[in-house]
Amino acid sequence: MNPASKTFSQTPGNISRVPYWAYTDPHLHTQELGRIFYGQHWSYVGLLAEIPNLGDFKKTQIGEREVIMVKDHVHPSQQGLDHGIRVVENRCAHRGVRFCQKTHGNQRSFVCPYHQWAYKLNGDLGGLPFKDGVEREGITQGGMPKDFDVKQHGLNRLKVEVLHGLVFATFDPQSPPLDQYLGPRIMPWLERIFKSRELTLLGYNRQRIPGNWKLMMENIKDPYHPGLLHTWFVTFGLWRADQRSRMIMDERGRHAVMVSQRNEGGDGAVTKGVTSFKPNMKLQDDRLLDIVQEPWWTIADPSKPTQTITPSVTMITLFPSLIIQQQVNSLSTRQIIPNGHGQFDFVWTHFGFKDDTPEMTRRRLRQANLFGPAGYVSADDGEVIEFSQAGFEQFNSDGLRGGETLCELGGREVAMTEHMVTETLIRGMYNYWREVMGHE
């Protein structure tokens, strides 16, 4: 068999398997960048709270292309219509230079260091040296051609939408509106955290994980592992299979929300034989688990409108590159920045709310010890992703594109559930992925 002709699943029609080459093929990775990250998908670029003032900017990436999110002027006639947030590609229109090297700051304009081409905050070319040539002894020397039009040579400007303080951008002007892209099943869970709230930025953590970027999305669409891999979750009842929970997807299976409500932990059917469960574990200083229920946790249940629901955790995955975490009082966005097929950077932005008391801010910061690159329940996610990638790479070292992962917990179909003993969200994402990538 021609290796390249191998279809997505070695068992035709089976969406519950993912071939290893989906993680190991460098050529496929470049196709993913084109079709997914630079195609008709919306990517998270940051929070409004990161750029509160005119001229504030933050540099980030969509896929492997650098972009700059900046707060621009709003024309008086556009007040209330224009959010004033621009996202431009970090690539000079002249010679392609990545002109911006600072990760954040405040600028009145962007100037490429090479030939001093100057851009307005909205990406328009403001001016360039010697455009009209240089006068010497009454003669004009050089300059741009007469028909050179500055309006045609601005920075690559992305389509931008701001949703409750979250900034998204897309390279493709044909992308559908953001609310359509996210869909009505996902929206209530974003509104629950963000709607009508002003955020405060608490800070960043950054880690480099040697694994394919999709493995991180899968990790947060996989409710099977947390109560098994993460001692802290199972022992202290923060996430385990005997909790009330719900697995939600948008209509196309690309975005998801894992919703759950904590319990008291301790012994139970789900801890039998689980070696990560530590029945005698006692903290010497338990301020880390000083959890306080917040009023906004309770909302009208989107699928049973006459009832309310009070989750202690919602893990939202927005395809392709954003995870939004509420785990008890800890809140963060986690952005995936791919770097080749076998590595990605993972950027955590922790936040709180403007009306938080100092005690709540401290609580959020304290619970941040559970998450992030050093977190009691996140450090090991990065580790298992590294080991997953290593397993795929070793088997694919013969170039024959063999091997596949198995995702059959809870069945072989894609469906929403009222429990967490399932890998349905992973199946949903790959069902969509196959559609976009054109694999059967």
Binding site: Y204, R206, R208, I209, L283, Q284, L365, A374, E383
Partner: protein, 197 residues
């Protein structure tokens, strides 16, 4: 800022000139040499996996923080690790040795000589945070560190580099850390950060 972190009062960027509360250069050198010795022991405790000894370098209410230089310089309070007592430090040791699944690795710390930056006084604490120190003077010092990581069958790699920004207090048991903030330059954590540094 963190409520437990005192602001340096009498300090100069390089520890030159008068440091209030210190009589002479030889007093500075004596303190620095005492800190150098403690730092060497601290590094050895971690590299030799004598983890039970690690919290003992701090006072019981001591603070251990690992924060990126980015957050530190921007005044953002988030840390990679932020432990507010010896109890939390012991919990961390239990956590990393018994609960976090990770690839095993050695650490190797290489520390610079310390520079005493100055002194400060413990700020009045809020009632919930009462802290009795025999001597309210805190000595502020900075020490550069490099931590190398070596995984089984792999070559050594630079894992984390930065400075310890420390506040030391004189106790009956000798000089102890009131707080240690590891401010790291390394913009990317190499996957996971397990052991204290």
């Amino acid at each position: 800022m963190n409520e437990n972190t005192p602001k340096p009062l009498n300090s100069s960027p390089l520890g030159q000139g008068d440091i209030a509360g210190i009589e002479s250069l030889s007093t500075v050198q004596t303190l620095e040499s005492e800190i150098n010795r403690l730092n060497a022991q601290y590094a050895r405790a971690l590299d030799e996996r004598l983890f039970d000894l690690w919290p003992e370098f701090f006072i019981p209410e001591g603070r251990y923080t690992v924060r990126s230089r980015e957050n530190h310089e921007r005044g953002l309070p988030l840390a990679l690790l932020d432990l507010e007592s010896q109890g939390m430090m012991r919990d961390r040791i239990y956590g990393v040795t018994q609960t976090i699944f990770h690839a095993p690795y050695y650490t190797r710390h290489v520390l610079s000589p310390t520079v005493l930056l100055g002194s400060t006084l413990v700020q009045p604490m809020s009632p919930s945070n009462a802290l009795e120190l025999k001597d309210p003077t805190l000595w502020v010092s900075s020490t550069s560190y490099a931590v190398f990581r070596t995984k089984p069958t792999q070559v050594s790699e630079v894992f984390n580099v930065g400075q310890y920004l420390d506040h030391w207090t004189r106790t009956e048991a000798g000089l102890k850390l009131f707080s240690r903030v590891c401010i790291f330059d390394t913009e990317m954590v190499l996957n996971s950060f397990i052991y204290p540094i």
